[in-house]
Point group: C3
Chain length 473, copies 3
């Protein structure tokens, strides 16, 4: 019938939408590369570049061979009419390794999930820049994209995951009768990546000279190119619009109802998070610099990092927040950035060259919680529908519901922290014991580009940069 025919178009329209947004998310790889390259010293620029180029590749192979299967490879059971549904495991997927049996109608989803997976690996790369052996990088990029991230995403986003709010009733009850709401991955992507970065930075230890050997006080190590940082920030901002809205996965629902309002809401929430986060963070730094040094600085890195942190606070709930709530989320992220950064550096003594743990780890945890506070009832229903039994889903406790989602999402924050630290700390520690984690002091002093990557990223400028980098210490 004409109805069947035309309704068959919808999945195609949605696939085009998802692919396009996926390409923009892929651009975030270049964004992270440039943001990190600009934030490190010239002698490490090429090592940052090859790492960010190759996590695209290691991540792709890992997600193809194993990750996709662990995340989405649910066993299906089909009835006589070939209508299938998941009979998957609550903890892990078990089919479709190397995409065996994956139908081409799922290929666009694979691509979108793949670009999400490589984001997590890339977040880590910033936190441990300038001091890690390339081989360690290769191993962890594979490990995260093949195992750590996919399993976590299985838990919260599939029809079988034990923490998923869309878990099939036939497979078990929802966690706390609600499931965790981490719609776009403030937790499963950003907090996970940030915490993994913390694990790496902690196990590897700080760069030589980052802390004064006598006093233990941090000494500044300036990034070598603010323009690269700017390219990085603006490409990440661009990518976030699609990271958030593309996750909606459809522009028209399969039953024909409109979905573009939900999608566009994600874009608007992202805009609010970016704008309010950056301005807030710049003003915080302005006051801080005036107060501590007497000289007020309009700081580019606070603008960029604070803006990204503001965005990550609204990421998970972008589809279920009013614009004003996303503005509040941006402000919260912008306010949190500097104190978290100072605490990580001065108190925790963690050397994280791009503040990846703060922006993604702390910001991501805040994002999971922010959903639980500000998600609106009607918007939750528009996005997720009612529960299978026809009852209303839980929503944000500041918007009139009780604290069920807050409790579930707090559990989720603890689960992410536990799973990520439990996987990554031993992993990095084993690499360290095997002598594969850290550059030798001489190689680090010379820079990884000279020692492992065939020479400086800037032949001809080594002297100018070298003089500066030695004298700076």
């Amino acid at each position: 019938s004409i109805q069947d025919e035309t309704f068959g178009w919808i999945p195609n329209i949605n696939a085009a939408f998802v692919l396009t947004d996926g390409y923009f998310v892929f651009i975030m790889q270049l964004g992270f590369a440039m943001l990190t390259a600009g934030s490190v010293r010239a002698k490490s620029a090429k090592s940052v570049c090859i790492k960010n180029v190759m996590d695209v590749m290691f991540g792709g192979v890992a997600y193809y061979l194993l990750g996709w299967a662990f995340a989405y490879g649910d066993k299906q059971e089909c009835d006589a009419d070939a209508v299938c549904s998941s009979v998957g495991n609550p903890f892990i997927g078990t089919e479709q390794f190397a995409m065996a049996g994956t139908p081409s109608t799922s290929f666009h989803t694979f691509y979108f999930q793949y670009v999400f997976a490589i984001s997590t690996a890339t977040i880590v790369s910033g936190a441990i820049a300038e001091r890690i052996q390339f081989i360690a990088y290769a191993f962890y990029a594979f490990f995260i994209c093949a195992w750590v991230y996919p399993v976590l995403s299985h838990w919260c986003w599939t029809a079988s995951g034990f923490a998923s709010p869309t878990r099939l009733a036939s497979l078990g009850p929802l966690l706390l009768g609600s499931g965790v709401y981490d719609t776009v991955g403030s937790g499963a992507v950003h907090m996970m990546g940030g915490v993994a970065g913390l694990a790496g930075a902690w196990v590897a230890g700080p760069r030589l000279g980052r802390f004064n050997p006598t006093t233990g006080k941090p000494q500044p190590i300036h990034g070598h190119n603010a323009v690269y940082y700017t390219i990085g920030y603006l490409l990440l901002a661009l990518g976030f619009f699609c990271f958030n809205s593309g996750t909606m996965a459809q522009i028209i629902a399969v039953d024909g109802t409109s979905f573009s309002g939900v999608v566009a809401r994600c874009t608007i929430s992202t805009t609010m998070g970016l704008c309010f986060g950056g301005i807030t963070s710049v003003l915080v730094y302005l006051a801080y610099s005036k107060y501590t040094t007497g000289h007020a600085v309009w700081d580019l890195f606070s603008a960029g990092n604070g803006s990204l942190m503001g965005t990550i606070v609204i990421t998970s709930g972008c589809a279920t927040f009013a614009p004003w709530a996303s503005a509040v989320g941006g402000i919260v992220g912008g306010l949190m950035y500097l104190p978290s950064s100072l605490f990580t550096l001065h108190v925790m003594k963690i050397d994280d060259p791009v503040d990846a743990f703060v922006v993604h780890g702390v910001g991501g945890a805040a994002g999971v919680i922010f959903y639980a506070l500000f998600a609106e009832k009607d918007l939750v229903t528009e996005l997720y529908g009612l529960l299978p039994d026809g009852s209303q889903r839980h929503w944000g406790c500041f918007m009139g519901d009780n604290g069920t989602v807050l409790a579930a999402n707090l559990i989720w924050v603890l689960l992410i922290a536990g799973w990520t630290l439990g996987m990554m700390v031993p992993f990095f520690y084993i690499l360290k014991l095997a002598g594969l984690l850290r550059l030798s002091p001489q190689d680090e002093e010379d820079g990884p580009d000279a020692s492992h990557h065939g020479g400086s990223a800037y032949p001809g400028l080594e002297d100018a940069y070298g003089d500066y980098e030695s004298s700076a210490k």
Copy 2:
């Protein structure tokens, strides 16, 4: 019915189209940042970066709180069947401040208009680079995005605007029986931004050393990185395809008729403008350099700036020009670039580091007029339909119509100039009187990066750049 259901899909398809094109327009922020960063001295690179990063933010807050309401916040009156139509004010919108009451079906439009608004702020930033205090920048970015641009766009693009060609008959007659045709914003965006830049550059005065203190003759100040300029140009070119075609706002009309031909025509017109504009301008500079110095130079900046100027000439009429007419428009823009640039610098004594006034201001005015000359009758009807009374709309006077649109669009050019200068000259002047506009001579000499932004964009290369920049004067 099936008909109603499927027709309900069209707005969703169009929203996806508008969002995607909006993301490409957002990339223009990075384009402007890089084009400007490459065109200034190394000591100002970071100040350019933070300004372009933060007009995304200031503009976002401004457009969210006020701008959208002033531009599109028409009061609506609905009949018994809930069919609504505007009863808005001809001069300004009055509702939806902070998006209060904005339906999610308009969110994608908000986003597209937002990225347009921040383009205007960004154009100005180039014209007044290297000598303005950051605080002045923050104020004007907010002012332009909250007030100057939104009000202007209300006049020409809404159902209630006094100059709009789609003004509702119930709200008053069309200007000159026609309304002004500035479809994509050669005038309301580019000319406005360029003229605002002129106002800023004029009130702030030139950079130290730009004119010889004795002779008054301009002295060259070279941009510090031609590769950044190239990144900027190519990203702006990319963005222009979508700036122009995305403005069409639909790929299928709501009544189901095809609209992709109109959209693709915009893309083709843009291609013509970019290509013919750049080649023409390069050849003009080749002849000029040969004639004035005896040495023929193939000039990158003429290629880029002339190409953008050619594109802006065809921007407003991109949907209503044959490809050959857009090629002519590109050539016109390419021919105008160098003489306009020389006139602005040598005669008007304006120091505009990126020729923003020439490319956007002069090019934008030319674009408003170019529509009035070359718009084709059938294409105007395809885009705008007939007038409410069923009569034919006016079209280009070179294509067989009389000069009605030319008269209306000339009025529009005067209105834009008057409104923009009337708003921005006093605005910049007040900042100047308050001591908030210009950097101190010492801060300017040291560079804004060192004096206000925490240090050079390129730690380690300050000496090499510094020696050059001092000796160059």
Copy 3:
């Protein structure tokens, strides 16, 4: 009827899809520019930039005036019901010069073909960087986009082309009863561009100092910026997703059947090629550097170039390969990169600063052949349908068919090589005889930026770069 109306939407949806993918392919211009700029010396950076900026323009004018007509300007014959079909020439198109008579329903196709055309010109630019006069560049960019590439594409991709697998039965038999399968242009775009680059690099000769004048052995000339290279690689990777999938030209077939699975398969194949190609090539270089120098290098350029070569191997067959086959293709490309590069440099004594001939020329030829080995029967049918007489099309000989496609595609490789060399060698030779090809030794020594483009790309850093570049020789 409702059916006619809604089916009329499909071409619009497809046009939006093609335009979006075309914009991403346009980004490849920036990708090539940055990859090449990073791979040459600082004294040539601006010349690379203006060349890549202006082949957008020369190519646009060329393709508008002539190229589109030669490629797709088939004469049409229409019956009484206005149903038209091609009665075109098997060798060349003959209508629609300067887009005269091109309907706006073809404008999006024009745009997509245009961005393909300028890719070919850009490939060549890398191969002959640092030693060619700008005027030679202008001539050849025009020549390739107006003539060489369009004619070749007519042969393989139109309803009338003598080698096309979709040739109308009324216009003649299929080549070997099959036609050549070069779906996305591994051959017609990449091999053609790479071989044209070889022709240019051979006729122009190597850069001064590339080979030791006494021993004839190659001496290293390092690229000046690895970060630019990285920007270039990642933007090319991004563009390749859409280069490959956008060629499918539709997301829903005109008869309403789903096509997004085919499109997404191209994206996945591209992912496989990129990932497996890069990792393989990096490991090959790691072993090679360890074996030849005793020092193992993780090489950024091998990662990028090998990844692109792996992708080009799977380009033509991206829609007809299983993911595992594309992984194999990536590995094949990655294995071929270093040996091909060494052979070209050491044995053929060709100086190709970006290995354009290897990556695109050799990789492209391999891609044409790879289709003939691994294309799957069902996927060929899904993409191309059955033959007009209802019989099955031929497919890959490793997948169960005989060697028909292999024979046809081998002929195609020879035709591309013959046509390209036959056109480009005389073309470059005539330029050489006319004294228009090569820079003078002094101009080359000074660098093209200083001698022809108004000065260094990096005012202030000339001394640092200059000292290095002199001492390096």
